[in-house]
């Protein structure tokens, strides 16, 4: 059946609205990041586009507006330290998550035993649990463990998001891999665990990569635990760093703020879009608790 003209028009109309809705805030930040200071609040593209903002956030500069107002004095003037910290935390969280979750997910995918229902409900419970309730007790516990204000403490806290999510996703992946392959390996003399390591894991690589990237992004985007657990400047991660650009409710240095947000936002966005074809509903559920 050929579609009517009115239907075509309707689709075009809604597509334009959709694009406008998605792109306006993003356009504004991209444009501001490439604008010199005097053009920061213009609506159009900058007439003299510049990379100064990016140079400034990585190398630092003198006499920017933020330093004049004193806003930036309280934090590291460049993005380098918080960026490295965020990368370290996300990387550490991903490694631990993948090791712990892959074996647990394999267990849930393959074994039948008493108590399994409780285990899987427990993990689902952890998966949907709102993290703000843990803010206070985790701070106290990290203090007791001597991990308050340390990146390793933050990594540990991030596992509360990433492990349940990863187990839940990987379980589905493992269930999709035929069990007969492992059985064949076991007939040839592999132990159960060896057959898991040598047969199932290599076959699950696309799933492992996807889950690792999602875990990375979850840790990267966390502001709840980093805000309560980190207390000194050389430990700050990106969400804390970016918070200092707002001084008394006013944006102090639009160009550098926009450039910082672009760097912080683009890396996970690229990772997400890169793996989009693997993305199914289940994979995205809970990727960001928001």
């Amino acid at each position: 059946m050929r579609r009517k003209k009115s239907a075509k028009f309707l689709i075009a109309f809604f597509v334009v609205i959709l694009l406008f809705w998605i792109l306006v805030p993003i356009y504004w930040i991209v444009k501001t990041a490439f604008s010199p200071e005097e053009e920061a609040w213009n609506i159009g593209l900058p007439r003299h586009p510049t990379l100064t903002n990016f140079r400034d956030i990585f190398v630092g500069s003198q006499g920017s507006m933020a330093e004049v107002t004193g806003a930036m004095l309280s934090i590291s003037p460049t993005i380098t330290t918080p960026l490295v910290n965020t990368l370290l935390v996300a990387g550490g969280a991903v490694v631990l998550t993948m090791v712990v979750s892959s074996i647990a997910a394999y267990n849930l995918a393959r074994f039948q035993y008493r108590g399994k229902r409780i285990v899987s409900s427990y993990i689902l419970f952890a998966y949907v649990f709102p993290p703000f309730i843990l803010m206070v007790p985790i701070t106290v516990i990290m203090n007791r463990l001597g991990l308050y204000d340390s990146l390793s403490g933050l990594i540990l806290a991030h596992l509360a998001y990433t492990i349940p999510f990863a187990i839940y996703m990987l379980r589905g992946y493992f269930m999709g891999i035929p069990q007969e392959l492992e059985e064949a390996a076991m007939v040839d003399g592999c132990s159960r665990f060896q057959s898991f390591l040598r047969i199932t894991l290599p076959l699950a690589v696309p799933g492992l990569v996807t889950v690792a990237i999602f875990s990375f992004v979850m840790s990267w985007g966390d502001a709840v635990f980093s805000i309560v657990l980190l207390n000194t400047q050389d430990k700050y991660t990106l969400p804390i760093h970016i918070g200092f650009f707002l001084w008394g409710g006013e944006i102090v240095d639009p160009g550098r703020l926009a450039a910082t947000a672009l760097v912080a936002g683009l890396i996970p966005a690229f990772l997400y879009i890169g793996i989009q074809r693997f993305v199914r509903m289940g994979l995205v559920a809970g990727a960001v608790k928001g």
């Binding site: 504004w28 074996i103 074994f111 008493r114 843990l134 803010m135 007790p137 509360a160 492990i163 970016i242």
Partner: protein
């Protein structure tokens, strides 16, 4: 007496040796999940129990904690700030979830049609969700600045510029940020749901003379019900528990206009006098609401 045999032990009774073997096998099975259970115990279960314990204590700085029973709770129930933050939590979460669901459904239906450029749009539609909540907050700092795009758009449609994060508009502005960030979650859920509806249903309905609206209401919506319940349950829970957007946008202000329960918990615990027990009592008081939502959602997810 019947003995139920595990698979691999066909017929007959299990000998002692076999039973021992089976037992060690079960132990081996637990070894796979043990690390995960331990880590989650340390960062989820122990903190949760600790929250309950703290909510019953008085913990002055530098002195040992003392048991005070329900005093923190009776203080909460007399505290107008608590009722205000509870109300704000609902005012924030319910409209946000409803609007996200409507936009998500609309976009899912739109991007389920066939037209050129659909693939690119499907990628773009995830973008707001792929950006971190703290980055989204920064985007909206620019939108809500007095010189920002928000006021420019108001002028275009002939309205006066406003202070977006002033007392009057702070809450709707916050909801808008949450909606902009969160609707693709609904879109992804609904799109997956739509794609699982067999096309023949629509064809036969069309042959029977159903209009496209009729088809939408009597085929599409009923078949999306399960997805709808799960997605709304998850989103309601996470929106009610959202800390990052209120913290980054307004910090609960101005004049507590956007003080939600997570924000209030944070303020009491970390900004005003480090009152951990009172903050824990806030969390415990709202926990039943989450427990119901968690139970409901987990049951559907399983």
């Amino acid at each position: 007496m019947t003995i139920i045999c595990p698979p691999g032990y066909p017929g007959g009774q299990i000998t002692k040796k076999e039973r021992r073997k089976l037992k060690s096998k079960t132990l081996g099975v637990w070894a796979y999940v043990l690390p995960a259970l331990l880590v989650l115990g340390l960062i989820l279960i122990i903190p949760l129990i600790y929250t309950f314990w703290m909510s019953l204590q008085h913990m002055p700085i530098g002195k040992p904690p003392t048991f005070v029973g329900m005093r923190n709770f009776s203080r909460i129930f007399r505290d107008p700030i608590f009722y205000k933050s509870l109300k704000n939590t609902f005012i924030y979460a319910f409209p946000a979830v409803a609007i996200k669901a409507i936009i998500g459904l609309g976009v899912a239906v739109l991007l389920n049609q066939e037209f050129r450029g659909r693939g690119i749009l499907r990628g773009l539609a995830i973008l707001p969700y792929a950006l971190q909540p703290f980055v989204v907050s920064v985007l909206f700092w620019f939108v809500y600045d007095y010189r920002g795009i928000g006021n420019i758009l108001l002028r275009v449609v002939g309205l006066k510029p406003i202070h977006w994060l002033g007392v009057q508009y702070a809450m709707p502005s916050l909801i808008l940020v949450n909606v902009w960030h969160g609707w693709p979650f609904f879109y992804l859920g609904f799109l997956a749901g739509l794609q699982s509806i067999p096309g023949e249903l629509y064809e036969s309905a069309e042959i029977d003379g159903a209009s496209s609206w009729q088809r939408f209401f009597s085929i599409t919506l009923p078949l999306l019900k399960d997805v709808f319940l799960i997605v709304c349950g998850l989103s309601l829970m996470w929106t009610m528990g959202d800390f990052v957007i209120p913290k980054m946008m307004t910090g609960g202000g101005p004049a507590d206009a956007t003080l939600t329960i997570p924000m209030a918990t944070y303020k009491i615990a970390f900004l005003l006098g480090l009152n951990y027990p009172l903050a824990s009592a806030y969390a415990v008081t709202i926990l039943p609401i989450f427990a119901v939502l968690i139970y409901f959602t987990v049951r559907h997810l399983e």
